[in-house]
C-alpha cells in the first residue's frame, strides 16, 4: 500500500501497522543512517539468536521505548531493541567514533527519540489533517520480546539486529 493512508475511510489496524513499520524504516535510514527492513518470525528468531551469541554468554539486554499520543485517537507506540543496537544507533545519530566514550544517558535519550520520531512520522502519515500531542518517551530495560509477532506487533531488522514494534490504541 502507499505510504499515506487513504483519508476517505477509517484505516484498518493492519494498515496502521504497515505505515508504522514504513515510518520506522524511514527514521532508521534517514536520521540514524542505518539499514532497516521488515522481517518474518524466522529471520527475527535468527537475529535474536545471533544477538544472544554476540552477548558472549551474558544476558542479552533489551531496551523498550514507549511513546504515548493523544488527539483524534489515543494510544502508544513501543519499540524494543537489543541494548547493543541502541548504542549503535546513538553513535550513528551523534556521529561518534568507536573510540568515543559512551554515556548511558545518551543511549536512553537516543532510543527515546527514535521511538518519538517513529510515532510522529506515523501519525503525520496516518492522520495528516489531525493534530496530536506526544508525551515524552519512556525508556526501560525489559526481557527479550516474544520471538514471533503478537497482535499489533511488527518485526524489523535494523543492521541485521532484531527490533519489535508495537501499536496499541487506548480507548478515550
Amino acid at each position: 500500500m502507499s505510504s499515506a493512508i487513504c483519508q476517505r475511510r477509517t484505516p484498518t489496524f493492519r494498515e496502521h501497522r504497515e505505515v508504522l513499520q514504513e515510518s520506522l524504516v524511514a527514521v532508521a535510514q534517514e536520521s540514524f543512517f542505518s539499514f532497516a527492513e521488515p522481517c518474518d518470525t524466522e529471520r527475527f528468531g535468527e537475529a535474536v539468536s545471533s544477538a544472544e551469541a554476540d552477548a558472549s554468554g551474558s544476558v542479552l539486554r533489551w531496551l523498550r521505548a514507549c511513546v504515548e499520543f493523544e488527539g483524534a485517537f489515543a494510544g502508544r507506540v513501543s519499540v524494543t531493541m537489543p541494548h547493543a543496537l541502541a548504542v549503535e544507533l546513538m553513535m550513528a545519530i551523534a556521529g561518534l567514533a568507536p573510540e568515543d566514550e559512551i554515556a548511558e544517558g545518551h543511549v536512553i535519550d537516543s532510543t527515546g527519540e527514535f521511538a518519538n520520531m517513529v510515532c510522529g512520522t506515523w501519525l503525520t502519515k496516518a492522520a495528516v489533517h489531525r493534530k496530536f500531542n506526544l508525551r515524552p518517551p519512556a525508556v526501560t530495560s525489559v526481557g527479550a520480546p516474544v520471538e514471533r509477532a503478537a497482535d499489533g506487533e511488527e518485526l524489523v531488522l535494523i543492521n541485521d539486529r532484531p527490533v519489535s514494534l508495537r501499536l496499541d490504541f487506548i480507548a478515550s
Partner: protein, 147 residues
Amino acid sequence: MDPTREQATVGASGPGLRPLNVLIVDDSAMMRMMIKRVTGLCDVPIGRIFEAANGAEAITILEREHVDALFTDINMPVMTGTELLRAISGNPRWQNLLRVIISTDGSEARRNEVAELNVRLYVEKPFRPEVMRDVLCNLSATNAHVS
C-alpha cells in the same frame, strides 16, 4: 541543565555573509547534537550555537543573547515549541528572528496552527543532512538582507 551552554563557532566563513547565531530547542540532547553536527557540515557561516531543552529555557537565552535563527521542536515538556513561538510573537525585539520548526509532527493541522506565528520554514523529522544545508543557506541569505 545549564541553559547558557553554547558551542564554539563552526562552519565555513563565506565572504560577505554574517555568521548566523543559532538556538536549537529540543528536549532530546541527542537530537540537538545531531542538528549541531549537521549544521557544522554545511558550507554556511555559523557563529554561536546555543541549546535549550524546552521553550522556557529558550526564552532565557533569547533575552540574554543575540540569536539570528531559532530551530525548535514542538512536543517538549515545560513549554512546547508552539507556546514558545506564541510567547515571542509580536515582540519587536525578536521581529527579525528567523524561526524554523524541526518536528516529527508534519500534519496540516499543526502547520496551520503555527502559520500565523511567523515561522519561516518547517522541517519534518526524519530529515536528510542536505535538507538542513538548504535551510541554512536560505536563512543565511535572508539574514544578510535583514542585517
